[in-house]
Each structure stands twice: as structure tokens, then as C-alpha cells.
């Protein structure tokens, strides 16, 4: 507990944009063959520093085989609402779940943010026993503490009961229990986010553990067995209120990105692949008259390719699907960044009109067939994947790995860690920074990035930016 609110808490998205730029990034590293413990790398982002763009330290975990994926801060700007009495929490701890092990690490970034330490380890048994869920994924701090979405239910393969969300105490990090009181028809899970003053939550669907842990299952995908629905929830009542089916051919609805300004009642979700034509798509959802609606507002076509350039999984199609695996929205709700992990492209859409995204910028790097090198001449394996935007919207960072077993299917040559930085033009447009190329330890793959002081996929706000 502090005497003043954490200086990285901002009442509105605009105040967060005007604050000091980020100086450090925390990047998750996973060992794809589980031979080393997964790790958290600290990368210097301060352009004035002599070590700019370099890895300052890596914190190796005490266990192997966790498979790090997503993670989050224990507290964010939403603490500035008097409603929950959280104003004096510190943004200090990173909550890092192991997607494969169901173990959760609480990492302390103080007193030295360049050398974080392990504060607490929550063993998988505690998660299983208290929640009946497994495979923790997305972390958000909110009114009732820390919310954790999971991809698996109980049992060894995670199919004994549906996956869901559980709550952790925001001070002690004890696992408290399931969040849902009424889950309605929800039986798969992936990402979730919310609009706090409007009191609703939106969640998406990827797949059940047998559909992803050993790799993508082509027969399941082609018979449209992966997730394709959005769920809308009453946040405080913990109740499911509405489901929207995007159509079964729209396989894998992943990241949910609501507008940051709570006055706006809309957001976006990315769909990995349309099984009828291999397109990727962006959907806009919105609330009107108490009902939620959703519409496809942008599509990205597949790119034809020689079978010789394709992994066995795609050879029959003679094309590379864009594979939209992550999207991220700038704090001013103006630009939506779309990772095309298959075709090796980062797209920037102007979503000032959320119903009509306009392509404003694009950068190619990596890709299954294109294999575009980084402007510094180095090979970039994989494609643009987990993307994070600086609070001021001027810099975009991303990494290249999706998920250990899926990486091997789409990029059989391997996906050594890469993290890049692109600069955003004043009116849009993206340019890769040739000088930014951190060298991560060998044998790792890089996944989600968190910025010191908060970022665009962390912060929720309780006051509008007027």
C-alpha cells in the first residue's frame, strides 16, 4: 500500500498517453522442447540508454515445462475508481501463468525493475482444487481482484467440465475460486475484457486442450470444431447474458479489444481463419439498446504459394492463410494493429470509424512463404505475433512465436526468439526500426510483451477522455 496512487495509474486514456514513455519491456520466453525453464526477459527500451534494445536480464523460473503464453500486471489504471477501494495498490507484480503446467508465478518488479524476482509460486494443484479449471491464460486486474481466464476444465486432458475464469486476491494472490455464477452456453474460452463503468465483459473461444496441446488438429479445423462464438457477460452479476455465433466457418475467435474510452460501447475481435476461403477477419462488436451486435468489418485474403514453400499442413491448399493471431488497439482507439502470423505482415487499420476499418499502414517481416528478413538483414523466423503498443501510440513492439506445437507445424524450421520495434507515423504508417534487435538466450521463443508502467492491452479506464 502506498501513500499516493501509483504514478502509472491514469484516470483517462488520454492522461496515460501524455505520461512518460516506456523505458523497459518484459518479454516472456518459452523453451519449446521443455529442456530449459521458461524465463522472463527484461529489454531496455530507453533510446537514451547505452544498452537500448538489449536484454538487461533474464529471470529463469524454478520449474520446466510451464509453456509461458500471456501474462499481466497485478494492478492498472482501473484502480482509480473509488468503487473498489483499490486506489493504493502498486503496479508491481507480473502474474505469469504456465499454459501447459497450470502453475502461476507472481514476479516482483521492485525494487529493481531491471532485475525482477519471484515473489510467489502458485502450484497447479491449488488452481485445480479451488477452481476446477486448468491452463490459465489471460490476466486482467479488475473490481474483484485479479481475473484469470483458463482454457481447460478438470481432469488430465482438461475436458472434465468447461473452462472459465477464476479470481485471485489482488493483495495476497491467493486463488479464491470460480468467477461465473451462470455461464450459459459457454463451453470454450480464450480471451476476455470489459467496459468497467458499463459493467459488461466480453469473452472469446479458441479451443479445448486436446485441440491445441499436441498441435492443431486439421480434421477438427476443417470440420469447424474450434471456437467461433463471442460471449457477453454481466460483470458484477457474473452472469452470461448473450452469445453471438460468428458462423462456424469463422474458426478461432481470439483477442477481444474493447475501446479504451469507456464512453464508447464497442470493440473488436480477430478471427484466425475462415475455413471456406482461408481469409482472416476483423469483427466489430457493439452494444445498442441493451443488446450486443457483431459484424465482420475487415478481411485479409490468403496469399497463393508454391507447395514447395509450404509446410505439409498447408501443401494441399497451395496458399498461405494470413492467420490473424493477435490484434491490439491504441489507447486513443484510433489504430488497430493486426498480426498476420502466416503471411508475415503487421497491418495497421485506422478504426476512427469502428464500422469501417481503413488500412493505414503495413510492414512485412517473416512469413511462411515470403520469409521477409528484418531491415537489419537478419532472418526473422515465424511471423508477427504478440503485439504491444506504447501508451503514446508512437511505437509498436512484437514477437514471433505462437505456441510451441503450432510453431512446429507452420514453421518447421523453428522460431528462434525475435522482438522488433516499429515506429508509427503522425498520421499512420509503420516503419521497422533497423537498430532494434535484442539478442535473447539460445533455445527460447519469445511470446507476450508487457511494458513497464502499462500498455494498450493492459489498461482499463473508469473515466472518459473528454
Amino acid at each position: 500500500m502506498t501513500i499516493r496512487p501509483d504514478p502509472t495509474f491514469h484516470a483517462t486514456p488520454r492522461l496515460a498517453m501524455e505520461a512518460e514513455p516506456e523505458k523497459l519491456a518484459y518479454t516472456l520466453l518459452l523453451s519449446p522442447d521443455f529442456s530449459q525453464p521458461d524465463a522472463l526477459a527484461v529489454v531496455d527500451l530507453d533510446p537514451k540508454s547505452a544498452t537500448f534494445g538489449q536484454v538487461l536480464s533474464t529471470l529463469a523460473m524454478p520449474h520446466k515445462g510451464d509453456e509461458f503464453h500471456h501474462f499481466g500486471w497485478n494492478a492498472c489504471s482501473s484502480s482509480l475508481s473509488p468503487l473498489t477501494d483499490h486506489a493504493f495498490l502498486e503496479r508491481r507484480y507480473l502474474i505469469i501463468p504456465g499454459l501447459r503446467s497450470s502453475r502461476i508465478y507472481v514476479v516482483d518488479t521492485k525494487p529493481d525493475p531491471r532485475h525482477p524476482t519471484i515473489h510467489r509460486v502458485i502450484e497447479p494443484e491449488e488452481v485445480f482444487r479451488k477452481t476446477g479449471y486448468s491452463r490459465p491464460h489471460t490476466i486482467h486486474c479488475g473490481p474483484e481482484g485479479i481475473y484469470v481466464s483458463t482454457l481447460g476444465g478438470g481432469g488430465p486432458d482438461g475436458t472434465d467440465g468447461p473452462p472459465g475464469i477464476f479470481i485471485m486476491d489482488c493483495q495476497t494472490f491467493d486463488v479464491i475460486g470460480r468467477w461465473e455464477i451462470d455461464r450459459g452456453p459457454q463451453d470454450k474460452h480464450y480471451d476476455f475484457w470489459w467496459n468497467l463503468p458499463r459493467d459488461y465483459m466480453v469473452s472469446s473461444e479458441w479451443a479445448l486442450p486436446p485441440q491445441f496441446e499436441g498441435g492443431i488438429v486439421p480434421e477438427q479445423l476443417l470440420s469447424n470444431k474450434y471456437g467461433h462464438r463471442l460471449h457477453f457477460w454481466d460483470l458484477r452479476a457474473r452472469k452470461h447474458v448473450q452469445v453471438i455465433d460468428l458462423g462456424e466457418n469463422h474458426q478461432m475467435a481470439l483477442e477481444v479489444r474493447p475501446a479504451h474510452d469507456p464512453v464508447k460501447e464497442y470493440g473488436f475481435v480477430g478471427v484466425v481463419v475462415d475455413t471456406t476461403n482461408l481469409e482472416g477477419s476483423i469483427w466489430t462488436w457493439w452494444r445498442e439498446g441493451g443488446q450486443f451486435h457483431c459484424r465482420k468489418t475487415a478481411t485479409i485474403p490468403p496469399e497463393p504459394a508454391d507447395a514447395a514453400d509450404l509446410p505439409p499442413l498447408l501443401q494441399g491448399f497451395g496458399a498461405v492463410p494470413p492467420l490473424i493471431t493477435d490484434i491490439d488497439l491504441s489507447l486513443d482507439d484510433r489504430f488497430l494493429y493486426v498480426s498476420c502470423w502466416g503471411t508475415g505482415e503487421m497491418r495497421q487499420y485506422d478504426v476512427s470509424d469502428p464500422m469501417q476499418p481503413k488500412l493505414a499502414g503495413s510492414v512485412h517481416v517473416g512469413g511462411i512463404a515470403r520469409k521477409t528478413p528484418h531491415p537489419n538483414g537478419k532472418a526473422y523466423a515465424g511471423g508477427p505475433q504478440m503485439v504491444e503498443i506504447s501508451r503514446d501510440g508512437k511505437r509498436v513492439y512484437w514477437t514471433n512465436s505462437l505456441y510451441s506445437t503450432w510453431d512446429d507445424q507452420f514453421y518447421p524450421g523453428g522460431v528462434p526468439s525475435a522482438m522488433v520495434k516499429a515506429d508509427v507515423g503522425a498520421t499512420g504508417g509503420l516503419t521497422l526500426d533497423p537498430t532494434f534487435w535484442p539478442e535473447f538466450p539460445q533455445g527460447y521463443r519469445a511470446h507476450q510483451i508487457r511494458l513497464e508502467g502499462g500498455d494498450c492491452s493492459t489498461e482499463s479506464f473508469c473515466y472518459p477522455s473528454v
Binding site: M1, T2, I3, R4, P5, F9, H10, A11, T12, L15, L80, S81, P82, L83, T84, D85, H86, A87, F88, P143, E144, G145, D169, C170, Q171, T172, L196, P197, R198, D199, R236, P262, V263, C462, Y463, P464, V466
Partner: protein, 214 residues
């Protein structure tokens, strides 16, 4: 001397109200938010009004039972001691228990009335004023005649204390909310927020101790 003491007690009623009004944790940012998310100043004032009415009710809830039992003139000292001990115990509880009241998080953002009631109860806003109120009743008892007169006098004092405290609270809180809404901007929310939990808990204990010795 007695007049001065009484004036001091009334001043504390006003000051504690102003303090509750100015503290972001007691709700003015919610009134600003109501204004910004809704129809502007009208919703802001409506929100502030809701906060104030419930604040008043939660204080009366603590004061009125004491107003009613104070007619037991024979037990006045015991009642005063009991009330002081209650306030001290609550202060110690606030000092020791630092975990967030998780039930608060189940209250919807639209339920300002319920929230305001819960937060006043949790922080012991009414308890803080209780020893001051009992002090005022004690001062008046010297002038009162029969016990009926005493009871109605005590109830009148309770209402006066609660109303005066709430008026100070709503004037200061509403003023800050309007200023933030009009020109200070939302940066003021974090700039004006101090963690006074410890100070608050110690104040409760101090007020209780004063009640014990006086």
C-alpha cells in the same frame, strides 16, 4: 469555557464533513464520472445528491440509537464509555485489517446509493462523529429539564449534526466535482488522492479516547 468547547465540537462536525467531501475515496470522482458518462452537469449533481442523501442516512443510523437511549440519564456515563470503546475498537480494526472489502466490488457502478452506504459503514463515518455528538449532548444536558425534553433535544441534535456534516460534505465534494468536471480535469483524481487509512484509523482511536477521558 463551555461555549467554546461546544463551538469546537460543532466545528469538528463541519470539518469532518468537509474532509469526507474532499476525499476521492468517499465518492466525488463517481459524481464526475456520472456527469461525463451521462448528460453532463445535471447527472453530476444528481450523483452527488445521491451520495449525500445516503451519507446522511448512514450517519443517522449510528447517531439515532444513541439519541434514544441517552434518556437513561442514570446510565449516561456508561453509554458514553461504551460508545467510546466501540469507536476505539473500530479504529483498531481499521488499523489491523488491511485487506480490501471484496464485497464492495459486487456493487454495480450505477448503484451509487448502495455504494455510498457501504463505504460510509466500512470506513465508520458515523462512528467518527459519535463521540463528538455525545459531547454535544452532554453539554446540552446541563440546560435541559425533564427527560422527555432531553430525548427530543438529543434527537434534534443528532439530526442537526448529521445534516450539518452532510451539508459540508456535499458542498466541498460537489465543489471539487464541478471544478474537476469544468476545468481542473481528471488528472486531479490521482493528484488529490492520499492514502489516509492509517490517519483515519488513528483519528477514530483518538476521538474515542477523548470521549473516554472527557
Amino acid at each position: 469555557m463551555e461555549g467554546w468547547a461546544q463551538a469546537g465540537l460543532w466545528l469538528s462536525v463541519l470539518l469532518s464533513g468537509a474532509y469526507h467531501g474532499a476525499s476521492p475515496g468517499m465518492g466525488w470522482p463517481l459524481a464526475v464520472s456520472a456527469g461525463l458518462m451521462g448528460r453532463g452537469r445535471r447527472d453530476l449533481l444528481l450523483g452527488m445528491g445521491q451520495l449525500a442523501v445516503v451519507h446522511l442516512a448512514s450517519i443517522l443510523l449510528v447517531l439515532l440509537p444513541f439519541a434514544l437511549i441517552l434518556w437513561l440519564v442514570a446510565y449516561q456515563d456508561q453509554i458514553r464509555t461504551g460508545a467510546s470503546l466501540l469507536v476505539i475498537l473500530f479504529g483498531i480494526y481499521r488499523l489491523v485489517e488491511r485487506r480490501h472489502p471484496r464485497r464492495l466490488a459486487r456493487i454495480r457502478p450505477g448503484q451509487l446509493v448502495l455504494w455510498s452506504f457501504a463505504i460510509a459503514l466500512i470506513h465508520g463515518a458515523g462512528l467518527m462523529i459519535l463521540p463528538i455528538y455525545l459531547g454535544l449532548c452532554g453539554a446540552e444536558a446541563h440546560h435541559a429539564g425533564g427527560s422527555t425534553q432531553l430525548v427530543s433535544g438529543n434527537i434534534g441534535t443528532a439530526i442537526a449534526v448529521a445534516v450539518l456534516h452532510t451539508l459540508a460534505m456535499v458542498t466541498v465534494g460537489g465543489g471539487v466535482a464541478l471544478a474537476v468536471h469544468g476545468w481542473l480535469g481528471l488528472g486531479f483524481v490521482s493528484r488529490s488522492w492520499f492514502n489516509l487509512e492509517t490517519f483515519w484509523a488513528i483519528s477514530l482511536i483518538a476521538v474515542g479516547l477523548l470521549g473516554l477521558v472527557s
